[in-house]
Each structure stands twice: as structure tokens, then as C-alpha cells.
């Protein structure tokens, strides 16, 4: 019996900043920026939120929807490029906060924006091998772009959690493949507050090459074509890239719209594909087929071929907030408040 998604939960911080507001501060043309990125606003974590708190809320939302003893979760993996500690795992904080401790394994993952999907793969392997009954995989970030850097328009916060298991599967993961190369398109050195990137180099040789090859590899492996899928979720650093990659691969706008959140909440990095997939699962029906492909700079892609099971009809999705509810519950802040919340302003005391 193959492993699949037993439950999922999402979390997006409540605050948003408009792309135009960021552009105003840096003397850029907000409308043009917004249009070129296809991003209108991005989520901003509150001053008391970080990757651990986002991961915990997402995990708790996943647990709300399913009757699982947290002690049956044998592994917690948190994928993020913004763990609150460089040394000291986020995963142990999450495990404690959901009551899964102490008999489990836990670790943090980092692979730019794809660490969350890699965590799903690890959980699948552990579940399939019988090492654990359930695994909890989370992708969450409170990513930062340097003030004034193009990344600042999109780097945002959010996350989603997946409970992987064999029993009570609401969406079967039929197959997963990855595609990895050493491509230095985006990085953050030890001790640096903000990441650096290769500008336009992050496009063709990085994002597009990895996603396209990984997606093709998956479809070849399972013998599918784009039209076999009801939904497609691609990593979404902005609103434009996923639309273009979909077009190149032969997917339609309709297939990707449900899982495309970046225009409203920005790039949630490790949370991006997990959140996009969660938005699809919020509306999916039994038999629906989903393809989800992440991308992490550095660089790699993980692709998943998923079939929604009949079990989803009995699954109480309403027990946790839907992604759209989280997207729509927002409060706009201006750049000054944003800068304060993100600790871009330091107090003089």
C-alpha cells in the first residue's frame, strides 16, 4: 500500500504589504513592478511570528482535521530557509508543541524553497518502509529580501504541514521524483542576514531548467501527460514564472489558477508549493489528479503525482482554516510598520 496525505494544514500570517508601497519607498514604479512580477501584495509575519510559530500553526491545523494521536507521529521534518536558530532545530519545537515528543525523530531541512517538499519525500520513504506510522512534513518560511533588493517585493511568510501515512489517506502520492544539480542561483552565507542571488541567472538555468526537467521526468515515469491532471502546482517565486513554466510544459491557466497564491501573498519560499497544494486539496474531489513541482535554489526540484481518494469526502476540511480563508483574512501595513515587524529597524536601547 502506498503512502499518501492523511491530513494537511495551512497557515499564513495576517499582515500584508502592497507591492506599490514597497516601490514607493525605493522610488520605483509600483504598478510596473506589480505587473512584471504579477504580485500585488505579500504576507508579512507579525513581530512575534517566525518559522517555528508558522510551522506549529500549520501542524495544529492539520491535526485538527484528523483523529490521530500525536504520539503516533514518528518523524517531524521542517523545511525552511529561515529557521529561527541556525543551530537548534525548529522541528523539536514543533514536535513539543503538537505533543508528539519524545519518541520520534526530528530534523530541520534547508534547500531554499524546496525543503518542505523534500520533507514530504522523506516521510513517504519512512512510512513506506514501515519505520514510522505517520510522518509530519512542513514547509514554512519567513523569508527576507534585503531592503531595496528586487526580492523584497515578494519574499513573504507562510507554511503548510502534511501528515503522511498509509491509513486514512485522502490523497495518494502515486510517485515522486527529483532533479538536482549544483546551480548557485541564490544563496545566503553563514552569518549573513539577507540572501544574495544571481539576478536573471535565477531564471532559465535555475527555475525553468529544473522544474521543466523534473516535471517531464515525472510524467515520463508514470506515463502521464499534462491533460491528465485536474490541477498543477508549480513553485511560484512570483506570479509570472509558474504561468510561463505551465505554458512551456503544456498546462493551461485553469489547471494552475487554484494553486497559484503568490499574487496575493508573495513567495512563501518553503511554504509555496505546500500552500499551493493545500489550496488545491481544499477544493479537490475524489479522483482528481494533481501534479505538484517545487523548486529550490542551489538547485533542485521535487515533483509529485497525486490522486485524490474517496476518503476526502469523509475528511472534515472545515475543522481547519482553508487557504483562501487565510489569504482573505488580512490587514495591510505600511512600509514603516513592515520594517519594524521585520526588524529592519533596530531599537536604540
Amino acid at each position: 500500500m502506498s503512502a499518501g496525505i492523511v491530513s494537511y494544514g495551512a497557515y499564513i500570517p495576517r499582515y500584508r504589504i502592497d507591492v506599490g508601497e514597497i516601490a514607493r519607498v525605493w522610488g520605483a514604479d509600483g504598478e510596473a513592478r506589480s505587473k512584471s512580477l504579477a504580485v500585488y501584495s505579500k504576507s508579512v509575519p507579525g513581530p512575534d511570528e517566525d518559522t517555528a510559530t508558522i510551522a506549529i500553526e500549520a501542524a495544529r491545523n492539520a491535526l485538527r482535521r484528523v483523529n490521530i494521536d500525536p504520539k503516533d507521529i514518528g518523524a517531524v521534518f521542517v523545511g525552511s530557509e529561515s529557521h529561527p536558530y541556525v543551530v537548534k532545530p525548529t522541528a523539536s519545537i514543533v514536535a513539543e508543541a503538537i505533543g508528539a515528543t519524545p519518541y520520534l525523530t526530528a530534523a530541520d531541512y534547508e534547500f531554499a524553497c524546496k525543503a518542505g517538499t523534500t520533507a514530504i519525500q522523506t516521510c513517504m520513504a519512512m512510512v513506506k518502509s514501515g519505520m514510522i506510522k505517520y510522518g509530519l512534513a512542513i514547509g514554512a518560511d519567513t523569508s527576507q529580501g534585503a531592503p531595496g533588493d528586487p526580492l523584497e517585493y515578494t519574499a513573504s511568510a507562510g507554511g503548510a504541514a502534511y501528515i503522511i501515512g498509509k491509513e486514512g489517506v485522502i490523497a495518494r502520492i502515486n510517485h515522486t521524483v527529483s532533479y538536482t544539480t549544483d546551480t548557485p542561483d541564490f544563496w545566503r552565507r553563514e552569518g549573513q542576514k539577507y540572501p544574495s542571488h544571481g539576478g536573471r541567472f535565477t531564471g532559465e538555468p535555475a527555475y525553468f531548467k529544473h522544474i521543466i526537467n523534473c516535471t517531464k521526468h515525472l510524467m515520463e515515469s508514470v506515463g502521464t501527460k499534462p491533460s491528465d491532471y485536474n490541477y498543477a502546482v508549480f513553485h511560484q517565486p512570483n506570479g509570472k514564472f509558474p504561468m510561463r513554466v505551465a505554458k512551456i510544459l503544456g498546462f493551461t491557466k485553469e489547471q494552475i489558477t487554484t494553486g497559484l497564491l503568490t499574487p496575493y501573498i508573495g513567495n512563501t519560499y518553503s511554504g509555496a508549493v505546500p500552500l499551493g497544494l493545500a489550496a488545491v486539496l481544499d477544493v479537490a474531489k475524489p479522483g482528481d489528479r494533481i501534479i505538484a513541482v517545487s523548486f529550490g535554489s542551489g538547485a533542485g526540484s521535487d515533483a509529485f503525482d497525486i490522486t485524490v481518494e474517496d476518503e476526502i469526502e469523509n475528511y472534515p476540511r472545515h475543522m481547519g482554516p482553508s487557504v483562501m480563508e487565510l489569504v482573505e483574512n488580512y490587514k495591510m501595513v505600511d512600509y514603516a510598520i513592515y520594517a519594524k515587524f521585520r526588524r529592519k529597524i533596530h531599537l536604540g536601547v
Partner: protein, 146 residues
């Protein structure tokens, strides 16, 4: 705060673990070793229980002159929350504009950063509460797909 002083309360701070007196059934938060109702009879009968985290606001205030760790959040709402199991707990109310808060407001517990031991020290996580929203009520509006 010294590390062990934070660490030993992680159960209560993350998961609202309190105690229930097995003699009279009353629930307490934070945990107590002696039941103020049953006194000596309760010794050895105080059982750890995880509280649901749902409750309503009994009283509140909006702090304008903050503690050091809360300067970035000022003004912020603090409240005494009456949990559904009975005990009352003092906590910050977040994701809530000061103008929204009122006595009787339904809230639920979330986990947030409470403070930190300086920029290089450990981070203190703990319970705070958010308004229990049934829908996107309280939001500024709906973003339509452009």
C-alpha cells in the same frame, strides 16, 4: 530569564498544560500541587491536563507603555482569558485590533514568540490568543484575482 526556568514550563507554555484535582474536579492553570478547595485531600491527586485553549475574554487592557520585549508590538492587547475548562489565564491577544477587543469575545490559543534572551540568546515561545474567527470576518476585504 535563565534557560532552565523557561524550559521547565515548556509543557504549560506551549500546550496549556494545567492540573485537575481528582477530588473535586476543579481545573487549574498554571499547574498547582495543592488544590485550594480540597487542600490536604488533594495531595497526590493533582493530575496534569492539557487545556483546549478556547475561551472568552474576562477583562482586557491595551498596553501603551510596554515591557522591553514588547516594544515592537506596542500598543498591544493583554487580557485575562477565561478558558472553557474554568481557569483564567493572563495572555496577549494578537491578530486583533485594540478597537475589536471586548469582554466576552471568543478567543483561541496560538503559539507565538513571547520574548528572547537578547539577539544571541534563546527564544521564548508560549501561548497567546487570537480572536476565534468563523470566516474572514475582521479582514479588510477580498482581493480579487486580477
Amino acid at each position: 530569564m535563565a534557560i532552565p526556568r523557561f524550559w521547565r514550563h515548556i509543557g504549560s507554555r506551549y500546550n496549556l498544560v494545567g492540573t485537575k484535582c481528582k477530588v473535586c474536579g476543579k481545573v487549574y492553570f498554571p499547574p498547582r500541587d495543592v488544590c485550594p478547595v480540597c487542600h490536604r485531600k488533594s495531595l497526590g491527586s493533582m493530575e496534569r491536563v492539557k487545556l483546549s485553549g478556547s475561551g472568552k475574554i474576562y477583562s482586557y487592557t491595551v498596553i501603551h507603555t510596554p515591557q522591553k520585549d514588547f516594544e515592537m508590538q506596542t500598543p498591544y492587547v493583554m487580557a485575562i482569558v477565561e478558558l472553557d475548562e474554568g481557569p483564567r489565564v493572563t495572555a496577549q491577544i494578537v491578530d486583533c485590533d485594540p478597537s475589536e477587543v471586548h469582554i466576552g469575545m471568543r478567543v483561541r490559543a496560538v503559539l507565538r514568540r513571547i520574548g528572547e534572551d537578547g539577539e544571541g540568546g534563546i527564544i521564548y515561545y508560549g501561548y497567546k490568543f487570537v480572536p476565534e474567527r468563523t470566516s474572514a470576518k475582521g479582514a479588510q476585504g477580498h482581493l480579487s484575482v486580477k
